[in-house]
């Protein structure tokens, strides 16, 4: 027993492992957060930042590893235990109840606000905190959240997390808190974070704006592929060394890339620069174009705009100009009650029909042809689609798009949760189809896939900030463009 008040970690996660199916989201992460420090957490898509945040706030329990609060190991750690230990979290996506007022949302977050006069107390708590963090905010605590702007909602959420009702606030996790705040509000927040930390609180700060991370954090933890790959005091990093730490060791594998001479050709698909900023989008026949950058920075919107601009007409022609491969299979990919064959042929029923009736032999032939070509592992195409593994379902979705005569295929991160073997097969099919003249526009959150593309557009905050061609499509360049571009 030590009588000396050692500075115990506010929270200590040791060797946490979590896997979702075959994907290792966390692969033995150890993280100690001491009182009075701001820890910056950076990493690219899927590095495991959100997963470790969910472990710390109690939303996920690690399959392996231990969690200790203030030096005491916790046996059963959940949301309630996390909150009891003073852990608060501001999530990346806004998570207030839009139908309630600001005061009522404060009540939802703080259990102990109850009994007579809770409204008055809540109004005082949230009002004072808002004044403290964002002086001159102009938010009315009795107003309904759905009437507030996105930035105001974010401010309310941040203030709610920092406000103290019963248990002291020891650790606040800020997951991309500045993404919807303008520069002056972001500065107010970062100043407050420093004051909070100097008063003995702790903050985990996640941001893709490296300048903020470097100026606000005491210590920076870099994650990649579910592991902590670097951990140093903030002063030992600069933007370039951070980007370098996020990337992997350069792989020996090198692939032949074509640089098509596109000068003078008419693009197959094109779109002017989004919101009048950044670069314009163009795609030529036979290209594989990657859309890179951090998740949710406008890639999916671009794909949907491209698709709707060419199919959104009621009087659409018989031959589709573009086909779409959805990323979220369950949500907008498969028809779960239909057979494999019906799922495969749905996109090209017009081509299989004679006088308004689908020709069954033609449908069966098409199915057989694609079954052999992409090796769908099933005895009978009449089996329900859900009898296939996830990877094989995804192959069917690819076949659905490729079976159409559409010259361009849009893909919205279609390889999520697909095993590596299937991926290799699909990559080969894509390359073969591209050689025949088809165009692919491919949004992917995986760096390996982006590096397969002929040309890559890097997105940041909804606009295209960089275009990389041929051999310059490397992990280092993509990371540099998606992180450093944000500061510009």
């Amino acid at each position: 027993m030590t009588a000396i008040p050692l500075r115990h970690a506010v929270i200590e996660v040791a060797d946490a492992k979590i896997s979702f199916g075959a994907v290792k989201a966390l692969d033995g992460v150890t993280l100690r957060i001491l009182p009075g420090e701001c820890v910056g957490l950076v990493g690219h898509n899927g590095a495991g930042k959100s997963t470790i945040v969910n472990v710390i706030n109690g939303g996920l329990s690690p399959h392996q590893g231990t969690i200790a609060c203030a030096g005491e190991p916790m046996q059963r750690y959940g949301i309630a235990a996390a909150r009891a230990n003073g852990v608060r979290c501001v999530f990346q996506e806004l998570s207030l109840c839009p139908n309630l007022t600001v005061i009522e949302n404060t009540r939802v977050m703080h259990r102990t606000l109850t009994g007579w006069g809770w409204r008055r107390r809540a109004a005082r708590i949230i009002g004072d905190k808002l004044d403290e963090i964002f002086p001159g905010h102009g938010i009315d605590p009795t107003g309904v959240v759905s009437d507030l702007s996105i930035a105001e909602r974010q401010m309310v959420e941040i203030a709610t997390a920092f406000s103290q009702v019963a248990q002291p606030v020891k650790l606040v996790i800020l997951d991309e808190p500045t993404s919807s705040l303008d520069a002056s509000l972001a500065t107010q927040l970062l100043d407050y974070v420093r004051r909070f930390v100097e008063a003995g609180g702790s903050v985990i700060f996640i941001s893709h704006i490296l300048g903020e991370i470097l100026s606000t954090s005491d210590r920076i933890v870099v994650m990649k592929d579910g592991k902590v790959v670097a951990e140093r005091p903030a002063g030992k990093f600069d933007e370039h060394s951070l980007v370098a730490a996020m990337g992997s060791v350069v792989k020996g594998r090198h692939q032949e890339k074509r640089i098509n001479d596109t000068a003078g050709l008419t693009p197959l698909l094109s779109q002017p620069s989004r919101r009048g900023k950044g670069l314009a989008f163009e795609a030529f026949a036979g290209e594989i174009i990657g859309l890179a950058g951090l998740g949710g920075h406008g890639q999916t919107d671009t794909l949907i705009d491209l698709y709707l601009a060419r199919t959104g007409s009621w009087l659409r022609g018989r031959d589709a100009e573009v086909a779409f491969v959805a990323g979220d299979r369950a949500l907008n990919g498969v028809f779960p009650l239909w057979s494999i064959l019906k799922n495969l042929t749905i996109a090209d029923l017009a081509g299989l029909s004679r006088r308004g009736l689908v020709s069954e032999p033609a449908e069966a032939n098409l199915g057989q042809a694609w079954k052999q070509r992409i090796e769908i592992r099933t005895q009978d195409l009449g089996n329900p689609i859900l009898s296939l593994s996830g990877g094989n379902q995804q192959k069917v979705l690819f076949a659905r798009a490729l079976a159409t005569p559409a010259p361009a295929v849009l893909m919205d991160d279609p390889m999520r949760g697909v095993d590596i073997g299937t991926k290799q097969e699909v990559y080969a099919i894509l390359r073969a189809e591209a050689d025949k003249g088809r165009t692919f526009v491919w949004y992917s959150t995986e760096m390996d896939e982006i590096c397969l593309c002929d040309r890559v557009y890097v997105f940041n905050n909804g606009v295209i900030v960089a275009e990389l061609k041929g051999d310059s499509v490397t992990e280092k360049n993509v990371l540099a463009a998606s992180f450093i571009g944000a500061a510009a």
Binding site: R83, S95, L96, E104, R107, V108, R111, V144, S146, D147
Partner: protein, 315 residues
Amino acid sequence: MKKVLSSDTIRLLIPALSLTILLISVFYLQPRAMSYVGLNLLFNLAVPIALATIAQMLIMTVNDLDLSMGTFVSFVACVAATFLQATPVIGVLILAAAIATYAALGVLIHMRNLPSIVVTLGMSFIWGGLAVLILPAPGGEAPAWVRAVMISRPPFMPMAIIACIIIAVVSHFIIMRSSFGVILRGVGGNARSVERAGWSILGVRAATYALAAFFAILAGISLVGLTTSADANIALRYTLLSIAGVILGGGEFTGGRVSPIGAVIGALTLTLAGSFLSFLRISPDWQIGAQGAILIVVLGLRLLLNRLENRGKRS
């Protein structure tokens, strides 16, 4: 910039206006209705409908829908006219078991992630069957105390109006003002964030369903107090009436946006619409259709107002 009217006030404006217009038309057609007895007769049947509407509104607050409301109220009416009158202890036990069943339904719907419409539709046959078992033929007798409350004549204001005001105030306090009501509406608005704040959604759902059953039981008992006897099919119309009442009163099917005062006003409007059509001497064959037309007009007005409000927000 300060807004003149909050969005909640605007939400209440349409139901209040439509009730006023209907009331004025009724008084114009039949001036004798403008009396103590007249008002009591006009709004008598609104009391059970208002209670059932509040019950339905509670279920809708957590983004569910109860299609068994009508049969459940009928079942309660049958219990009230038989067991509650003859052997009060057994009657109370049966009603307590009914509340527990509702709470269990809430748990089941949440745990198995079932659509509430399917579960309650199934339950409606069970409640209906139980009601027929208790009272195979119309009959029974209302407990004396219920009857006494329902026909009492307080000074100045008829019982029906007082009861509706009490229902509105009590449910407004529970749902809109109390700290429990905040969590309840929070579940409708964004269940994920309520869960992340450390609340048990399961518990909230169960409590909501139990509370809804409590209001529905009050509806059944008050209905028996008015009709003096019961019948297994006495309140079948309540399922749709209660849903229409909530929507008419400014509530929405999803998103936890509800208004208890609006719901009571909605129930009053629906009751009054029936009387209004009788005063117009519209044949009963056309009344249902005409009632539907009134509903469409009021809801159309609300859509218009919503659109105006959204346009104001965007500019």
